[in-house]
């Protein structure tokens, strides 16, 4: 313990004391200071207010004009940009896929589900908020169907409903994205087995001629709708050689419907339409349906081979009878998606 150490701590202590006493003194002086006077002096240091005011009065009109020009310019730019964007969008959306998105039709959804048997109703709670509807039709009498790929894409569950109102759950066996086709299979359901219907139409893989009279059945609404027209071009949208152009009135929901000629042969599957022109619709050629069926891996078929019907029972029938027979094998496809 040298004197050095003693001095060091004494100095630290004195410095500490000095600061405390100065603080007390300053606090006392500060308390006595005339704050109004201080504020006034501080305000006088602000150089801006006075010049600002005169500047404002001088340039008020100019500013108003500048501001209005800015407003007009802004909104004009927005308007021009929007209209450009809309035009652009229209171009992109000239081709519209005909699956139908239903947001508000909760009632129809409920009806479909009410028709389900007990285990179907249990699924009710899991049913998602977005529903897409399209058309599909039977390929074989033992439960294979075809529909548009864009209808069932990203589906969580797929249900099909017959014209009589019977609902079955289906699984997607195979997706063919390039040709916009999807093969469905009804999940094993005894009710369906009993109601086995034969497939009445034949399949014509040969290219059809322009001017061929064609008809289709589909579900643009909850009821089956018949439409007829003619083959107007051998190629589809933007020269797509896998599709036909058809002059036929179709709407969202028609997607995946069969396109039959006068003799009841399947010549295509409805896929989309051009939104900018009336009566310009497209259908995938049956040739590609056959290719799609051939490219299904055997594993996906689970030992139940997909054999197309060869015999056409519609050929000699009048149109009304053809429609009646066809109706039995055209189904409404309802797709449920869980929103992420």
């Amino acid at each position: 313990m040298g004197t050095n150490d003693e001095q060091e701590i004494e100095n630290a202590l004195r410095a500490y004391g000095d600061r405390i006493r100065l603080r007390q003194k300053l606090a006392a002086v500060q308390a006595a200071v005339d704050m109004d006077d201080m504020r006034q002096q501080a305000d006088e240091l602000r150089p801006e207010p006075a010049p600002m005011r005169s500047w404002w009065t001088t340039y008020r009109t100019t500013l108003a004009v500048a501001a209005s020009v800015a407003v007009v310019t802004t909104f004009t730019s927005i308007f021009v940009y929007r209209s450009y964007q809309n035009g652009h969008q229209q171009q992109q959306q000239q081709y519209s896929q005909l699956s139908k998105e239903i947001q508000a039709v909760k009632s129809s959804q409920r009806r479909i589900l009410n028709d389900l048997d007990g285990h179907g109703r249990a699924l009710n709670a899991a049913v998602a908020s977005a529903q897409i509807a399209g058309t599909g039709f039977m390929l074989t009498s033992d439960g294979y169907l075809v529909t548009s790929n864009h209808t069932v894409r990203d589906a969580d569950s797929v249900y099909v409903q017959s014209q009589q109102g019977a609902v079955y759950k289906a699984r997607v066996v195979y997706n063919d994205q390039p040709h916009d086709l999807a093969i469905l299979q009804l999940c094993d359901d005894s009710a369906f087995r009993q109601a086995l219907t034969t497939v009445p139409y034949g399949v014509d893989p040969r290219p059809s001629d322009l001017g061929e009279r064609v008809f289709t059945l589909g579900y643009p609404r909850d009821e089956i709708v018949y439409g007829e027209g003619y083959l107007s071009s051998a190629t589809g949208y933007q020269g797509d050689s896998t599709a036909y152009q058809v002059a036929i009135g179709v709407n969202p929901g028609n997607s995946g419907g069969p396109l039959l000629n006068e003799k009841g042969n399947l010549i295509g599957i409805i896929s989309g339409k051009q939104t900018t022109a009336e009566g310009v619709s497209f259908a995938v050629k049956t040739d590609y349906l056959l290719k799609t069926i051939n490219s299904i891996p055997t594993d996906s078929l689970k030992g139940q081979p997909l054999r197309l019907n060869k015999k056409n029972t519609l050929t000699t029938l009048p149109r009304k009878q053809q429609i009646k027979r066809m109706m039995a094998c055209v189904y409404q496809v309802s797709v449920f998606k869980h929103r992420q």
Binding site: M1, D5, E6, E8, I9, E10, A12, L13, R14, A15, Y16, G17, D18, R19, I20, R21, L22, R23, K25, L26, A27, V29, Q30, A32, V33, D34, M35, M38, R39, Q41, A42, D43, E44, L45, R46
Partner: protein, 192 residues
């Protein structure tokens, strides 16, 4: 007090006289320091999202910085006292703003670099805090005894009487023992 204020308003001290007055704790110097330069700091702080109370704290702190530098003999003003006070106040307020997660908007005066001075000040701040802590931990009667002698500047005789020691030698011994205990507490932390 208002009489005193009026009286002192007549005298205007130079920067040098103000500094001497500050280091001596002269009331008239302190009053003039407030009158002359506080509005400048008040203006700066309130222009940069601070309140009047913030400005008061900052100005008091700035005066302490100057005071301690004068006392340590390390103040070498390269500019007007006004500019120096502004620069120190500015730095102190910037630190506060940074702690509050905000930024300075505008300078209201010219400023000079005070980085080194501020480093010294932060060191003294640390010492001050540490001393307050050490005195707290020292306990009674040592704490009061030391405070009476070193801070309140009571005479040894007054302390002898106050604490009831038999004579002032006895009091000195006590004071020495207390000082040594304080030293241990203080330097145990400080020298780390």
């Amino acid at each position: 007090m208002s009489n005193v204020m009026k009286e002192s308003r007549r005298t205007t001290l130079t920067d040098e006289e103000l500094l001497i007055g500050l280091s001596d704790g002269s009331d008239s110097a302190l009053q003039q320091l407030y009158r002359q330069y506080f509005p400048m700091v008040l203006h700066f702080v309130t222009s940069n999202s601070g309140s009047e109370d913030d400005a008061k704290d900052i100005y008091q702190e700035a005066l302490i910085v100057v005071y301690e530098k004068v006392r340590a003999g390390s103040l070498a003003l390269q500019c007007q006292l006004k500019t120096y006070l502004y620069s120190v106040g500015r730095r102190l307020w910037l630190k506060q703003l940074a702690q509050r997660g905000r930024y300075m908007v505008s300078d209201t005066e010219q400023s000079v670099r005070v980085d080194e001075d501020m480093t010294d000040h932060e060191e003294r701040d640390r010492q001050f805090e540490l001393m307050a802590e050490s005195l707290d931990r020292l306990g009674e009667p040592c704490r009061t005894l030391l405070e009476d002698f070193y801070i309140r500047h009571l005479s040894m005789q007054a302390i002898t009487d106050k604490f009831g020691y038999t004579n002032s030698d006895n009091a000195k011994t006590q004071k020495y023992k207390c000082l040594m205990r304080l030293k241990r507490l203080f330097f145990a932390e400080y020298k780390q």
